[in-house]
Structures are given as C-alpha cells and as structure tokens.
C-alpha cells in the first residue's frame, strides 16, 4: 500500500511535519517528523513513517511519536525515533532501543595538525587496525572473566579507570558518567555474557567504524573552544560501536519476554515487534536493569577502544598521548537507549521513560546531567556521516529539552540497501577512490566498502541543517575523515 505521505502530513513549518492522530485508529498521540520538504520524498519511500504511527499506539506515550530527519525503516520502531512514556502508566519496549543496546559514538580531540599526522597516517591506521579487532571474529586485547563482566556492566567506564584504561577526566565526558544507575546483571542471561566476554574492546562490523578526522569548519568558535576544538586542520578521532553480542542477545532474550508480557497485560499492538511491558511491571523492570547493564558494557567497550587508539598514537608518533598529544575525550553519547528522565510537560515535572532508537541525547546548557565543563555550551551531540564526506559536532539546546525530550539525530541514515549500493558501484574500487581523496581505509573485507559508500547514505549535512534550523541542536564544527577503519 503506497501512502501519499506529502498529502497525509500537515506542514507545521519548514522543518516540522505533523502526522495526525486520525491517520490510523489507535494512535494515542500524533506523530511529529523533523525533515525538510526535500527529505520527505526519500523518507516516504519505505515504511518508516508507518512505524512512527505504530509507535503512537504505545500506552503512556506523551505528546508525540517523534522522528528525526535521519529516520529510516527499522524493526517495530523506526530508526531515528524518539518516544517518551509516562512512568506511572506507560510501557518500555526493547524494540525502542534496538538489538545493539547503547550503540553510540565517542569523539576524542588531539593537539595534532593534519600535516603532522599525514606522514604517519598509514602506520597509524594499520596499528589501530591490529590492536582493535574489527569485523567478524577476533577478540579484544583484554580478557575478562564472567565475574569481571558483571563488574564491567555495573561500573562501565569506572571499571576501565580501575584497570588503567581510562584517565580520570574521561569519566564525566561520558553520558551518565559512563555508568548508568540501575544495572542489574542478574537479569542478563549467561548466553549474553558469554557472547560479550571475548568482544570487549572490539568494533564489530556493519556501519561501525573508527575514523581519524580533521576539523574542516567551525560554526561556533566559543563552544568549539570549550570542547577542545582549536580550529580547521586539527586532528580528531571518531568512534562508532556498541555493546556487541552481549547487547544483541539481551535484546533477543527480552523480545520473547515482552511478547508474552504484552499479551499478559493485554496491550494492543499494531506490530509484534513493538512488544512491551508496563515500566513498573516485573518484566519492565527486569528489562530496564538488563538493558542498563548492557549499556554500561558498551560505554566500557568504547573506552577500551579509545585507550588502544591513544596507545597507537603514542607508539607511532613517539609522544605521550595525554601530555603531548592532548588526546582528551570530547564526549561519548548513546544513540540506542531507554532512560528514566525528568522533563517538564505543560509546566509540570514529569518522570518519563525516553526511548531513543537511533537518536542521541541533546541536553541544554545548565542541565544538571550535563558535565560541568559543558554547562555553558550544552551537551556535545556527535553526528557521524559517511566515510567519504563529513561528521558533525553539535550542542544540545533548550528547544530540544522542551520539544524532543532533549534528543537529536544520530547520523545520516541509509538510502540504499547494501546490495543496491554494491550493484551501483560494481567495478569501482572504493578504497582506491577514497585514497584519491586522501582517505586511507582499512577493512576486514575491501569488497564490503561499496556497501558503506557515500552513495548508500543520505547527506548528513541536510540532516544536521534541519535540526540546526529547528533549534534542536546547534552546529559547532564539521570534520572530514582522513583515516578509516571498518569492520
């Protein structure tokens, strides 16, 4: 059934579109889509907007079922979806978090200039590629026991700090201090722990990456300076990965639990994949505890990857990562997560469970959960693009807090399936094409690169511009890649 979305959606302004409650009987709230008119054409090509409508069925949903401009077709929830449910009578849904629990991004600064790194780029990328397994198989440099896995899931980045894989100042540059409260490791299955244990400190595959990037434009120099960004030409590191098999299995385990719970609590769902349970129920609390534990594992995973990256820079450049290279963490933010948060709704305080499925937190200046160093700027929002173009750093705003539960977009979003991209780029050596643009890429399988090429993704600049113009996340700086590691 082809829906004429342009006729169904009501234009609010140049960045906002309303999906009326009347679109589908059963919707408890309308949908709110952030996009430019131009982007709607692409967004409307698959089932993503239908999924926005489906999420609006969930009990306890407040205000809107929201979609960020990078929205695309997911499993139950659209990827790029944001929804908050009242804690008293709302539900929590593993589909609103996704398989890769706390998939997220992390950006490190350096004091290096591009011309200092260029002569060592290949060596640097190769060293990182050796130390941080990417792709299928390969275990991390650190071996953890089943007991230690439990500690990782409670302490997150704190565990890495204890073991010497973090600097003390890293901790508060991670969302939630790198250790979200409420982790319940007893609710994570043995199977999940066994899948995750060998994978701590690994990137995984798919769209996960580690990139050496260079600042190529600064939009807000005051905020940039606070974030350790000096100006064009500065070398940065961008990491994108999640909780590996531990998170994937945890989601899988609870999808089954929730399928039963949904029928037990008589929750009517338009799609089985939205299976959920009341937040306060045993099933809801068990999932929340397990999901939080998996999220902390992911924070620790990205910390270890950052650690081995610092080690690689230190080794290749022969300079101290902290004192001489200034490789400080700018921020680390989750984009597949559900969190219990306080928000103001119609002037009243409300406790809600915010599902961010392919969306990042974007808290404003002055918010108590924003680290002290970012109290004036707002929380850094990290938005990766594709491996040939650029990525962005933005900052959270008061507008985001009042309109989107303090949330923003998480990336570019795909427009081409993997096979379509491969067909389109048949005979094209993507690695060589990148090399011609000064980008050195290493991947487990070069053939895979076509599937992750720019052509497969939306232009992240369009995504970021919509949110910047809507006042949801202000642009701070743009980076372009020079070294890419792909799974």
């Amino acid at each position: 059934m082809a829906v004429k979305w342009r006729e169904t959606l009501e234009k609010i302004d140049d960045q906002r579109w309303l999906l009326p409650k009347e679109y589908k009987p059963g919707m408890r709230v309308p949908g709110l889509v952030f996009a430019s008119e131009k982007m709607l054409g692409v967004i409307g090509q698959d089932q993503a907007l239908e999924q926005v409508a489906n999420v609006a069925f969930l009990p306890g949903i407040v205000n809107y079922s929201m979609a960020m401009p990078d929205i695309h077709w997911g499993y139950g929830f659209p990827i790029g979806g944001v929804a908050a449910m009242r804690v008293e009578d709302g539900v929590i849904s593993p589909g609103g978090v996704g398989f890769d629990i706390n998939c997220g991004t992390r950006v490190m600064r350096t004091s290096l200039r591009e011309d200092e790194v260029r002569p060592h780029l290949k060596e640097l990328v190769n060293q990182i590629f050796r130390d941080i397994p990417a792709g299928i198989g390969g275990s991390g440099l650190v071996k953890v026991s089943m007991k230690e896995i439990d500690e990782v899931m409670v302490q997150g980045v704190g565990w890495a700090l204890e073991q010497g894989y973090a600097w003390p100042e890293d901790v508060d540059a991670v969302e939630g201090g790198g250790a979200l409260k409420g982790a319940n490791t007893d609710k994570v299955s043995k199977r999940a722990k066994q899948r995750g244990a060998p994978q701590l400190g690994t990137l995984g595959s798919g769209n996960h990456f580690l990139e050496i990037q260079v600042i190529d434009e600064v939009y807000d120099s005051e905020k940039a300076e606070t974030m350790g960004i000096d100006g064009p030409g500065q070398v940065m590191v961008f990491i994108h990965c999640g909780s590996r098999g531990l998170g994937h299995q945890t989601c899988q385990d609870y999808l089954e639990v929730m399928e039963e719970a949904a029928s037990k609590y008589k929750i009517q769902l338009p799609d089985k994949q939205l299976a959920c349970a009341p937040i306060g129920s045993k099933e809801g609390q068990d999932y929340l505890g397990a999901m939080t534990a998996a999220a902390n594992f992911a924070f620790c995973n990205r910390q270890l990857i950052a650690h081995w990256t610092r080690q690689a820079f230190q080794r290749v450049l022969g300079r101290d990562a902290r004192e001489e290279l200034g490789m400080h963490l700018v921020y680390d933010v989750a984009h597949n997560i559900a969190k219990i948060e306080q928000h103001r709704v119609n002037g009243k305080e409300m406790t809600v469970c915010v599902h961010r499925k392919g969306a990042t937190r974007a808290f404003p200046p002055g918010h108590p959960d924003v680290p002290r160093r970012y109290q004036q700027t707002g929380q850094p929002v990290l938005v990766p693009g594709d491996m040939a173009r650029y990525s962005y750093i933005c900052a959270g705003t008061e507008q985001a807090m009042s309109e989107t539960w303090g949330s923003s977009c998480h990336g570019a979003g795909r427009v081409q399936s993997r096979h379509a991209a491969k067909r389109m780029l048949k005979g094209v050596d993507v690695a060589r094409r990148l090399a011609q643009r000064g980008i050195y890429v290493r991947a487990q399988n070069r053939g895979l690169l076509a599937e992750e090429a720019s052509e497969a993704y939306k232009d992240v600049a369009e995504v970021v511009d919509v949110l910047d113009e809507a006042g949801i996340a202000g642009k701070v700086a743009r980076m372009r890649p020079i070294g890419v590691i792909k799974g």
Binding site: W73, Y75, G245, A420
Partner: protein
C-alpha cells in the same frame, strides 16, 4: 545470483534486500531442510562458505513457541557460537524438528581471518517480516537480519 529456469535446481536460499539490513528467503523440501538452508543462508551472508572446513561440530537443541519462534531461537543459537567461540558453520544436519523443538548438528571451524573470505557480521535475527510457511511440498522461510 539467483538461478532460475526449468533446468536449474531451486537454490537453497535467496537474498532479500532491505534499506538498512539484509535478509534471506530459504526453501526446503522438508521442514528439516528448510531450517538447515536458513542457517546456510545466514552464514553465507557472513562468509564464503566454500572455504570453511568442517573440523568442529556442535550439537544444538532449541525450543520455541511455533515455527517462527523456533527459527529465531535456532539461528540465534548459531550466532552464540559465532560470538562466544568464533565458530563459522558451513553445514547443518537437522535431525529432528517439530512445531516447537529442533535438534541438529552444526559443522564448521574457528574463524581464520587470513584464510576465510569474511563479509559482515549478523548482529541478530529479527522478527521483522518473519515467515515460515508451507505451500504443498515447498517449505519457505523469510528472515531479516540486523547487520
């Protein structure tokens, strides 16, 4: 490439496209063959299976609520061995399969990044557009994977 025509045998599976991810449509003359072919399809997404030796064997038993549930459990169990033991399977013998129970043996070897031609990992088996159906003698399963 999908082989078609009267002289071509039906392929054990075909690749299904999805914007963000990849899926398969598997076929079988029996339910047992269908489950084995679905597993072949999932591992073929991750690696070229011709080069995978069969030096390791794992016995697998799973239960599920129905055929769809059983399919998710079966493929997820195989992903467990991939993550926890780095095992790449290339042959499956389904010894027993009912509406709710499956018993099988999986053959393969440990991943060798030098020798194996690896593609990309499957994170999870989704319930998105999941179908296990029988049309006369043709058993058919559609499974989408989170990549």
């Amino acid at each position: 490439m999908v082989l078609e025509g009267p002289f071509m045998p039906r392929p054990p599976f075909e690749i299904l496209e999805h914007t963000a991810d990849v899926g398969i449509v598997a076929h079988g003359d029996s339910l047992a063959e269908l489950f084995a072919n679905a597993a072949i399809g999932m591992f073929a997404i991750m690696a070229e299976l011709e080069g995978v030796r069969q030096t390791e064997e794992r016995r697998i038993e799973v239960e599920g609520r129905d055929h769809e549930g059983l399919m998710v459990r079966w493929l997820t169990e195989l992903l467990y061995y991939l993550d926890a033991e780095e095992l790449l399977f290339s042959r499956f013998v389904v010894e027993e399969v009912s509406e709710t129970r499956l018993r099988a043996r999986a053959f393969g070897e440990r991943i060798d990044a030098e020798r194996h031609r690896l593609h990309f990992g499957v994170k999870a088996v989704t319930r998105h557009m999941l179908e296990v159906a029988q049309e006369e003698d043709d058993y058919r399963a559609q499974v989408l994977f989170d990549i």
